[in-house]
Structure formats: structure tokens, C-alpha cells
Symmetry: C2
Subunit: 355 residues, 2 copies
């Protein structure tokens, strides 16, 4: 038994793997593999259509929201967002809360003016800045809802009149939110939605088409909307894995039910950390992420020993990002509570031997 605490690509439900594996040999009893299946066929159009519908249903989106499945990862969106929304002489406001936000800021600067309204770089991104002001004439305000590397998460939606744009790559579909407050949401699929190689993008149609810039067809959200995410051959299999994962989420009870489970998993791990005299969480308590739990040990030798122990017990993906060190445990939707129980038991046993 492997417990996969990877930050992404990461664990997906077992039944998704099983159905995806079958579809590669025989998709929907057609005698064809999903990998050789034409995308302009009613069967695949149904796959795309159902995936889009399930996103709308699970996120309770208003009718004015458009859902797209696009090639690439969130890194593609770092430039596609300003390319579509930010004129050269206009201003976009960004919050700098970690590695991914920093990258988004860097790409946006190629397209227009960027104001970084606040940053938590001063303390290695271990907290979420508060009390900043967003210029009301900004084209949009961009932030990362969950910081995968640093283990922080925004627990409320910023109160602003400016259109909200959010990178939700690592916490989309993991908790209830008023998703309709966002003008644009994007997320690389390889955490809570499906497999790597596809982006989920949700946009208000009314913020599009305002830039004076010429946009390449493949980068123009409006063209993808018009063609139902079939402007060109989509990443067929990656979209299919999204569909299977979305079906699983619906069957599991949807976003509210998975949030309850996610809170239970994260609660168990943070309680263990708070009770520990050995393991230390690195993040401001009020900004802790439910998805990526980051902690350290004071002694590098002990860190090595604990990593070794995890490996022995089939717990993988526990090593922290090189920028933070220590440990990072990712608890995405498909992670079973049982795995977290085994990990916390291991931590307690390790502590007893090492304190």
C-alpha cells in the first residue's frame, strides 16, 4: 500500500484509475481506445459536455460563467490571463503570496503595469498579508487561493470592487466558496481535477474582448468559448480523466461533503503538529492550508530519519519543497482519512523515540 502525499501530479480516486485504464483498451464499448478516439464524435462531445456541466453544477456557477478545458498548465495561464485582460497602458493588481504568485506577476509585467498590493516575502511567504488596498481602477486583482509550496491558504475572498482573478490550482473543488464572485478562475488539473496536461478556466464573458491587443487564436478565451473547448484537438484523455474525477466528486457528495472530509484530514494533522514538541508547523495559524501542510524538524538528522521512516512505511511525497525545507504533506480530495491517520500515528511514534 502506497500513501501518495505528492503535491501534484497527485493522488486521484482509485476508481478513476480503474475506469481510465479500461478506457485505454476499450472506450465505452466501442472497441477503440480513448487514445485513438476522434474528438469530433458525439461520444467525445458528450465527455466534454458532461465535464463542463459537472463543473458548473459542483461549483454552483451562474449562467453567465463560461467553463473551458484548455491545453497547458497554470503556468500557461500566467500569461494568457494578462494577454486577454490587461492593456499595455492599464494596471493590474497582484498579491504576492508565494512562488506561484511571483511567477504570475513576472509574466503579467510583459503585458501591462502591475502593482503588487502586498507581499509576504519578508517572512518566506509563511503568512497571508492583510489590510492592503487595491486600487479601484485596476483591470483586475489576481491572487493565488492556496499556496502549494508554502502551505498557506486564503480563507476569505478579498472585498474589492475590482474584478477578481484567482489561480485555484491547488484548492479548486476542495471547499465551498462563492465562485460567482470571481471574474476569472483557473486551475491546472493535476491536483483536484484530473491528470496533468489540461487547465480548467472559468470566465465571465463580459470581461473578455476589451483589450486592444491582438490575441493569437489559441490564446483567446472567446474563441475557446465559442467552440466549446474544441477550437483544436483538445487533450482528449486528460479531459476524460477530469470527467471521471468530477463524477466521483459528485457521487461523494460534492464540494460541501469533500470540504468536511478535507477539514477532518487537515484538522487531524494540524492537531498532531500543535500537540508535538518535535514537529513544528511553519505557517501562521490563521492562514494554514487545508491542502498542503508544511512543517519542519529542528534537526536535519532527525528530518532525514523521519523521511526514511516514511519511505519505509510507503508514504511518499512527504519531503518539503527546497525553498522551505522540512516536510510538505498534500491532502487533496482523493486522499483517504486513513492515510492521514497512519501518518500522524507514525509522527507520534517517531516523537516518542526522539524527544
Amino acid at each position: 500500500m502506497v500513501h501518495n502525499f505528492n503535491a501534484g501530479p497527485s493522488i486521484l480516486p482509485r476508481e478513476v484509475f480503474e475506469e481510465a485504464s479500461r478506457a485505454i483498451l476499450n472506450f465505452n464499448d466501442t472497441g477503440l481506445s480513448i487514445l485513438e478516439f476522434g474528438h469530433r464524435t458525439p461520444l467525445f462531445e458528450n465527455v466534454m459536455g458532461e465535464a463542463i456541466s459537472l463543473v458548473k453544477e459542483l461549483m454552483q456557477l451562474n449562467a453567465d460563467k463560461e467553463v473551458m478545458f484548455l491545453h497547458g498548465g497554470a503556468s500557461t495561464q500566467f500569461f494568457q490571463v494578462p494577454m486577454n485582460l490587461l492593456d499595455e497602458d492599464a494596471l493590474a493588481a497582484y498579491l504576492d503570496c508565494g512562488i506561484w504568485g511571483t511567477k504570475a506577476i513576472k509574466e503579467a509585467k510583459q503585458f501591462g503595469h502591475v502593482e503588487v498590493v502586498a507581499s509576504s516575502k519578508d517572512r518566506n511567504y509563511s503568512y497571508i498579508p492583510k489590510g492592503y488596498k487595491i486600487t479601484s481602477d485596476a483591470a483586475y486583482f489576481h491572487y493565488t487561493t492556496n499556496n502549494t509550496v508554502e502551505g498557506t491558504q486564503m480563507h476569505s475572498i478579498p472585498d474589492t470592487v475590482v474584478p477578481l482573478v484567482a489561480d485555484m490550482s491547488s484548492d479548486i473543488l476542495s471547499r465551498s466558496m462563492d465562485f460567482n464572485r470571481f471574474s476569472l478562475i483557473y486551475a491546472g488539473a493535476q491536483k483536484n481535477i484530473g491528470a496533468a496536461g489540461v487547465n480548467l478556466v472559468i470566465a465571465d464573458k463580459n470581461i473578455l474582448g476589451k483589450t486592444k491587443r491582438k490575441i493569437p487564436s489559441m490564446m483567446d478565451y472567446r474563441q475557446h468559448i465559442e467552440h466549446g473547448s474544441m477550437l483544436n484537438t483538445p487533450p482528449v484523455f486528460a479531459v476524460y480523466v477530469c470527467l471521471l474525477t468530477l463524477r466521483w466528486l459528485k457521487k461523494t457528495g460534492g464540494v460541501a461533503a469533500i470540504e468536511k472530509l478535507n477539514r477532518e484530514k487537515a484538522g487531524l494533522l494540524y492537531d498532531t503538529l500543535d500537540a508535538s514538541t518535535l514537529f513544528k508547523p511553519t505557517v501562521a495559524k490563521e492562514d494554514r492550508s487545508l491542502m498542503n501542510v508544511v512543517f519542519v524538524l529542528d534537526d536535519p538528522e532527525k528530518e532525514k530519519a523521519f523521511l526514511q521512516l516514511c519511505k519505509q512505511e510507503g508514504m511518499i511525497g512527504v519531503k518539503g519543497h527546497r525553498s522551505v525545507g522540512g516536510f510538505r504533506v498534500s491532502l487533496y480530495n482523493a486522499m483517504p482519512l486513513e492515510s492521514v491517520k497512519q501518518l500522524t500515528a507514525l509522527m507520534k511514534a517517531f516523537e516518542q523515540r526522539h524527544v
Copy 2:
């Protein structure tokens, strides 16, 4: 038994499906699915590395060629190529031989000047123009080696001093060519390389970095080269399917061996067409594609009847593109000779009943 004559996504070797299906349940005996497998792991780095090496080996590329696996499809390359190679005040020469070339031209015009050196639009793209001149100060000359929709193929490399850029989406790895004569080659994977959702791009490093334009990181070939196609999370599974297909091609004898088979398959079908008084090939004889064979019947009722017969016999993907009508039979690398034999037998039987 299904005979899959789809134009793309299209048939891949059965053993590729079988191994890909297994890897979704248990990749390389890790107990993990390839869909949940971290890309920054030695095992996946080996997948990427071997795929890149196999491309170099199978295409006999010189050491100065860089091989990349990038997100998206050839449609992404339509703009990524001029974004990297064409300054606003510079000129690129394009050959207009079909739907895909036309789209490439449209995107390039957003970035600089485009000279269409020749076009076969006058006769519905049923031939390849010859005897055109390429301005020697063009930044590059772009053409489509094989026209998937129209069924034409360039059987020699244009003689020019201008850097050659080619869209080889539908005939890459299907025939021997001096690939080193090209400064840049790109191909969507979903025909001869693997599954949809990834592009193969091969570039001379020395044509890069010359534009004054700022290029978004994810669109900058140099950054992808520097990071070994791991600038961001790559489309992990799609790259893995490429690796499996490349391994199969090597085992099958490589490009020369597959070309022999491809010539046999296409020869059989074109011979059948040439001997027929009913079925009519639509393309100039000297420009016939070995990959996509396009033909018509004079009578729409007979076309319908033949399509029905194909369906009955499990032959799918035979219907022509709406812009040409009639039939299009795609004979990519993985298509067995036996399927072509059955199709031509069916054509002959149909002809006997209908002449």
C-alpha cells in the same frame, strides 16, 4: 474487429494501449498510477529523457538539434513559431497548401509580415504548387509537409537558403528525410507520435533568441530547452504514450522500415483507386499523400451506401473532411497492412455491385 482509419486522434499500436493501460494502474511496479506520479522524479525524468533520445535517434538528428515535448497541439505552434522567430518588421514566407497552412498564415500575420509564396487554393488544394520563389531575406520559410485534410504531401524538401520551418503533424516519423535541413519542426502528437495533448518540437538553437519581442516564459523555446521540457508540469501521461510509441517504432525497425510498410499500404490503396472506374482519387498523382488518401464517388447516393458498408464492416474514420467530401482514409504508422487489404477488397466488391 475495428479498423480505425481516423485522421487524428488516430490508431496507435495495440501494445502501446496495453502498456499505457497497465501504467495507469501501476507504473513501473511503483504501486502508483502514472497519473499520480510526480514529474520531478528520476523515473519520470527517465521517461522524458528516453523519449527525447529516441526522437534524436529515429530522426538521425545532429547534435545541434534540440528536442522538446510541449503542451498544446500544432495550432499552438501556429503562433508560437512566429512569436519566437518573426520580428514585427520582418518577413516570413509561407506556402499555402491547405487548411492547416492557411491557419498558420493567419496566426503569423499577427506577429510580422507574411508573404504567401504560392497557393493551391485555386483547385481546392488538390496539388502542391511548384516553381515558386522564396525571398532570400525571409526570416524563415514555413510549409506543411503533409496536408491531412486534402491528401497531398511534399515529396521533396524545398531548395532554399532561408531557414526551413515545417509542420509535420501528419507525417512525422513516417518516412526518411534529411530532418537536419530544417531549422524548426513541429508536430501535434496525435497521429504518428502518441496521444493528443502534446507537441513535438525540434529546433536549431541558433535560430532562437534573435527576436526583439518579449516572449512569455511558457512560449519561449529557449526556456523549455534549458529545462529539458520540464519548465512546468509537462503533460506527463501524453509524454509517456509518446515514449511507448517511439519504442514500438524503434523495435519495428525505425523510420526506414515503417516507410516501406507505409508505401506498401498507400500503394495498395492508390492502385485500387487507379484501377477503379467508380472511385476517383482527388489529388494530383505526383503529390499524393502516403498518410491520407482522399477519393470520391460521383454519386452521393453511392457515397452514402459505401459509407454504410464500411460501418457494417467495422471500418471507421473513412468519411472525408467536409471541405473535400467523399472519403479520406488515413494510413498512419500503426495501421496494419491487413486493414488496408480488407478495405480495398471491400471497394472492389462494392464496385462490382455498382458499376
